[in-house]
C-alpha cells in the first residue's frame, strides 16, 4: 500500500500532453434526463453489427432488445429508454457515415423501469454461462474500441491466462469517466473483477492507474476484498499508457509480440468501465443501456460526468451541460488524441463513447505544415518503435507497400508522432489513409485474380468446344 507511489511503472517513449482533467475530475457523476428520442445504430461494436428485430410502431420497454447478435464477434443492442419505435432508417453515425439505426420516441410519462429480470447468480455459473450472459447484455469494451467483451473472456485452447489487467490508466487528456467510476464505485469494480477472475480462472489481478488519480488509487486500494489477490498499481502519467500493449509492458515488463494479442503473454486486459458494466449485469441483470460520459473541454459551459442513455443525441448532452461557448469549434467523441471529430450534432452517444470533448478555436486552428526536418522527435515518441519520419516520407510518395515493410500495420494510430511533429505533418492521418489504401489494393488484387481465373476458365471451355 505504501509502495505504489514509489514505483511509477511505465513504458518507453510516448508523449506528455497536458492532462487537462481538472475541468471535470472532481465533478460527481450525475444522471441526465431522458431525451425525446434515442437513436440506436445497429453497428456499435467492433465486429458484425446487430440484426434488427423490431419494426416501426413497436412498443419497447427500457432494456428490451432491438437488435440481436449476429455471429460470435457481435452483441445485441438494447432499447435505452421505453417508448415507441418511430423509424428504422439511416441516421448520422459518429464515425461520419449514415448508418441504419432504430429511432425510439421516448415515452415521456414512462417511469423508465426496466422489466423485472432474473439476476444470474454468478457463483454457480460456468465460464460459458458467464460469457453468454455478458454477450446477451450487449457488453463491449467501453474504452473506445467497443470490442465485444465476451470474446476476450474466451481464450482459445492451450492458452493459459495468468494475470487479469484492469485498465484504469485513462491516459487520454480531458477524460475522467473511468476516474469517477473508480472513485465513486470501487466496490463495483472489485465485484466485476471477482466475476472475471472466476470466469477466466486466474488468481491474480492488477489495476493500473495513472498517478494523476491518487483518489482513485486510494479508493480502490481501500476496498480490495480480502479474499482476492488484487493489486492497485500506480503508473507514470504518459500517453498512451492506457494502450493495451503499453499497459501490459508497464505492468509486467513483457512485450506483446508484433501482430499478436495480450493473451499471448498470458494476460487479459479489460477497461474499468467495461468491468463496471459486467458488474452491473451480475448485480442488477441490466444490459448495457447507459454509460458514463465525460462532457468537457474549454468549449463546454459546465463540464460534467454524466450517466447518458446510449443513443442520446450529442446536442441533448451538450445542452444539458449548459451548451457550448462562443468560440467552440470542434466536438470530439473520445479523447483529443484518438477521438473522432463530429460533423453532425444529431449523431448519438454510443456504447463506446467515453467522452464528448469540445475544443475551442485557438486549440484547433490549422497550423502551417513544413517539410520534415528529420528532427527525430517522432521516433522518440512512437510507443511501438516505428520510424514515423520515414513512413511519412513514403506516404507522401504513395509508396504504401514499402510502408508495410516498415511495419505500418503495427501502428496503433495513437497520434503521438503527429502530436510532437514540429513541422505539423499529419502523420497519424497519413498512416490511416495508407492503411486503407493498402487494404483497397489487396481487395482489388483479389478481385483481379478472380476475374482472371474466370477468364482462363472461360477460354478453356471455349477451347474445348472448338476442339469438339
Amino acid at each position: 500500500m505504501t509502495s505504489f507511489l514509489a514505483r511509477a511503472l511505465s513504458f518507453r517513449h510516448g508523449v506528455h500532453p497536458p492532462d487537462s482533467k481538472a475541468l471535470s475530475a472532481h465533478v460527481p457523476i450525475r444522471r441526465m434526463p431522458f431525451p425525446r428520442e434515442v437513436i440506436l445504430p445497429l453497428s456499435q461494436n467492433a465486429g458484425a453489427p446487430a440484426r434488427l428485430i423490431v419494426k416501426p410502431g413497436d412498443r419497447v420497454e427500457r432494456g428490451d432488445k432491438v437488435g440481436e447478435a449476429q455471429g460470435y464477434v457481435s452483441v445485441p443492442v438494447h432499447a435505452s429508454a421505453a417508448g415507441t419505435v418511430k423509424a428504422v432508417e439511416l441516421r448520422p453515425h459518429p464515425n461520419g457515415s449514415m448508418s441504419e439505426a432504430v429511432v425510439i420516441e421516448v415515452d415521456a410519462h414512462s417511469p423508465q423501469l426496466p422489466r423485472p429480470r432474473i439476476v444470474p447468480r454468478w457463483e454457480g455459473l460456468t465460464p460459458a454461462q458467464v460469457r453468454s450472459a455478458v454477450q446477451d447484455a450487449g457488453v463491449v469494451g467501453l474504452g473506445g474500441a467497443a470490442f465485444p467483451t465476451h470474446v476476450k473472456l474466451n481464450p482459445p485452447e492451450g492458452v493459459s491466462i495468468e494475470l487479469l489487467i484492469i485498465n484504469g490508466a485513462e491516459c487520454e487528456p480531458y477524460l475522467t469517466s473511468d476516474h469517477r467510476v473508480m472513485v465513486e464505485h470501487p466496490d463495483r469494480v472489485h465485484f466485476g473483477i471477482r466475476v472475471m477472475m472466476q470466469c477466466l480462472g486466474v488468481s491474480r489481478a492488477v489495476i493500473g492507474v495513472e498517478l494523476n488519480k491518487p483518489d482513485a488509487i486510494e479508493a480502490l486500494t481501500r476496498t480490495i476484498p480480502e479474499d482476492l489477490d488484487i493489486t492497485v498499481q500506480g503508473l507514470q502519467v504518459k500517453y498512451p499508457q492506457g494502450a493495451e500493449k503499453m499497459l501490459i509492458h508497464s505492468l509486467t515488463g513483457s512485450e506483446v509480440p508484433s501482430g499478436k494479442l495480450p493473451m499471448n503473454v498470458g494476460t487479459v486486459v479489460q477497461n474499468v468501465g467495461s468491468i463496471a458494466a459486467i458488474a452491473e449485469v451480475f448485480e442488477t441483470g441490466y444490459p448495457l443501456i447507459e454509460r458514463i460520459v465525460t462532457v468537457t473541454g474549454p468549449g463546454v459551459v459546465r463540464p460534467s460526468n454524466l450517466i447518458v442513455p446510449v443513443g442520446t443525441p450529442i446536442r441533448d448532452v451538450l445542452e444539458f451541460c449548459g451548451g457550448v461557448t462562443e468560440d467552440a469549434r470542434e466536438v470530439v467523441f473520445g479523447g483529443p488524441m484518438m477521438g473522432a471529430s463530429q460533423p453532425d450534432l444529431d449523431a448519438p452517444v454510443l456504447k463506446g463513447t467515453s467522452g464528448v470533448v469540445v475544443l475551442t478555436r485557438s486549440q484547433v486552428t490549422p497550423r502551417r505544415v513544413h517539410p520534415c526536418i528529420s528532427c527525430g522527435h517522432c521516433l522518440d515518441a512512437c510507443p511501438v518503435f516505428l520510424n514515423p519520419s520515414l513512413l511519412g516520407k513514403l506516404a507522401q510518395a504513395g509508396r504504401h507497400e514499402e510502408m508495410r515493410d516498415n511495419h505500418l500495420m503495427d501502428c496503433m494510430l495513437c497520434g503521438s508522432c503527429s502530436y510532437v511533429c514540429p513541422s505539423n505533418i499529419p502523420l497519424a492521418q497519413m498512416f490511416a489513409l495508407s492503411r486503407s489504401a493498402l487494404s483497397r489494393d489487396r481487395e482489388r488484387a483479389k478481385a483481379k485474380e478472380a476475374r482472371e481465373a474466370a477468364e482462363v476458365a472461360k477460354a478453356a471451355v471455349a477451347d474445348e468446344e472448338r476442339v469438339a
Binding site: P17, K245, L251, T252, L345, L413, Y419
Partner: protein, 343 residues
C-alpha cells in the same frame, strides 16, 4: 443551444508546443552570443563579414525559396542560421563580397537546389564555406590577430569583386596552424575563452557550449552528436598523445582549438543532415570525431572539421538505414517484472 460552426479534423486534435519556426529561431538565439563575441574580438570587420554572409543567405531564400503552398520560406528561420553559421566560419578580413557570394551559394546550391528545407544532403553553411575555400583559398586562410581598435578593419573587407584583396593588416597564425606547422601549443585557457586567432566563431568554446546546452535542454539538438564527437576526438588524441607527446597534442588542445566546438555543437547537429535515429547519432558523431583527428594529424590541412562533417553528411542515409529502431514486440523475451508489490 447557440449555433456553432463545427470543424472536422483528423486526430490528434491537440498539438505539442514545438514548431519548426521555434526550433530554428531558438538556434538563432543560441548563436547570438557567439556572434556578439566574434564582433567583440574582431571588431567592425566581423560585423561586416557576418552581415554579408547572412544577407546573401537570407536574400537568396527570400527570392527563390518557395514552400509547397506557394508562400515564402523565409519565416522558418533556417536561412538565418545558415548565414550566421557561414559567417562564423570565415576569417574577419575576408572581402565582404566573398562572404555574400558564400551565403548565396550556401542557400542556392546547398539547400534550394536539393528541394529546400529538409531535402538537402549536406550542411548548407559548410557547403558554402567549402565553395569559398575552393574558390578563394588565400583570403580564406588569412587569419587576422585578435586585438587592436574595434573600428580598425582586419583586412581588405571592401575589396572590389574579383580583384585581389590588398592584405596589409596584421595577420596571426591560428592555434592549429601553429601546432601543425611550428609545433607550438596554445594554452587551453586562451582557447576556452576565445582570445586566439582563427575564424570568427572558433573563438569562445564557453559560449558555444552554453548555447548548445540550452538547445539540448530544449530538445532542439541531439546531445548524442556533440558528445560522441568530443568522445572520439578526446579518446583518439589522448591515445596518440600517450604514444608520442611531442608529436601529438593532447585531448584538451584538440577539443578546444579550431572549429571543433562550433562544428560539433551547431553544424553536425543540423537536424536535416544528421541521422534521425539516436543510435545513428552516435555513429555519426564518432565518425566525425575520428575524421577530425585523422585530417588534423595526417592530412594536408591544419583543420578538418568541415570536411569531416561533410563526409559524414553523405553517409547519413546509410547510417539511418542501418539503425532503424527495433519494432515493439520483436525483442528478446523480457524477464517478467513483478506486477505487485512485495507482500
Amino acid at each position: 443551444m447557440n449555433r456553432v460552426r463545427l470543424q472536422v479534423a483528423a486526430s490528434p486534435h491537440v498539438k505539442g508546443p514545438d514548431s519548426t519556426e521555434r526550433i530554428m529561431w531558438s538556434v538563432v538565439a543560441a548563436l547570438a552570443p557567439i556572434t556578439a563575441a566574434a564582433v567583440w574580438y574582431f571588431g567592425l570587420s566581423a560585423l561586416l563579414v557576418i552581415a554579408a554572409s547572412t544577407l546573401g543567405a537570407v536574400g537568396t531564400e527570400r527570392f527563390l525559396g518557395r514552400h509547397g503552398d506557394g508562400r515564402g520560406t523565409l519565416s522558418d528561420g533556417s536561412a538565418v542560421i545558415t548565414g550566421l553559421l557561414l559567417g562564423l566560419t570565415l576569417p574577419a578580413g575576408l572581402p565582404i563580397w566573398m562572404a555574400l557570394v558564400g551565403g548565396v551559394f550556401a542557400i542556392g546550391f546547398g539547400k534550394l537546389l536539393f528541394g529546400g528545407l529538409g531535402q538537402n544532403v549536406f550542411n548548407p553553411a559548410l557547403l558554402g564555406r567549402a565553395f569559398l575555400q575552393a574558390a578563394f583559398p588565400e583570403p580564406l586562410t588569412t587569419w587576422p590577430a585578435v586585438g587592436g581598435s574595434w573600428w580598425a578593419l582586419r583586412g581588405d573587407n571592401f575589396a572590389m569583386p574579383l580583384m585581389a584583396p590588398q592584405v596589409d593588416a596584421v595577420t596571426g597564425a591560428t592555434p592549429l596552424g601553429l601546432m601543425k606547422f611550428e609545433r607550438i601549443t596554445t594554452p587551453v585557457t586562451d582557447l576556452f575563452m576565445g582570445d586566439v586567432g582563427g575564424s570568427l566563431g572558433e573563438t569562445s568554446a564557453l559560449l558555444i557550449l552554453l548555447g548548445g546546452a540550452y538547445l539540448a535542454w530544449k530538445n532542439y539538438l541531439n546531445w548524442r552528436i556533440p558528445v560522441s564527437v568530443f568522445l572520439a576526438v578526446g579518446v583518439l588524441s589522448s591515445v596518440l598523445h600517450v604514444i608520442d607527446p611531442a608529436r601529438f597534442p593532447g585531448a584538451p588542445f584538440m577539443l578546444f582549438s579550431g572549429g571543433l566546438m562550433l562544428g560539433a555543437v551547431f553544424m553536425a547537429t543540423d537536424m536535416v543532415t544528421s541521422p534521425v535515429t539516436n543510435r545513428g547519432a552516435w555513429i555519426f558523431g564518432l565518425g566525425i570525431g575520428a575524421l577530425v583527428v585523422v585530417i588534423r594529424i595526417w592530412g594536408g590541412l591544419p583543420e578538418g572539421v568541415m570536411y569531416a562533417i561533410l563526409l559524414m553528411n553523405a553517409l547519413v542515409p546509410f547510417i539511418d538505414r542501418a539503425t532503424q529502431p527495433r519494432l515493439f514486440g520483436t525483442g528478446p523475451p523480457v524477464e517478467r517484472r513483478k506486477a505487485r508489490a512485495a507482500p
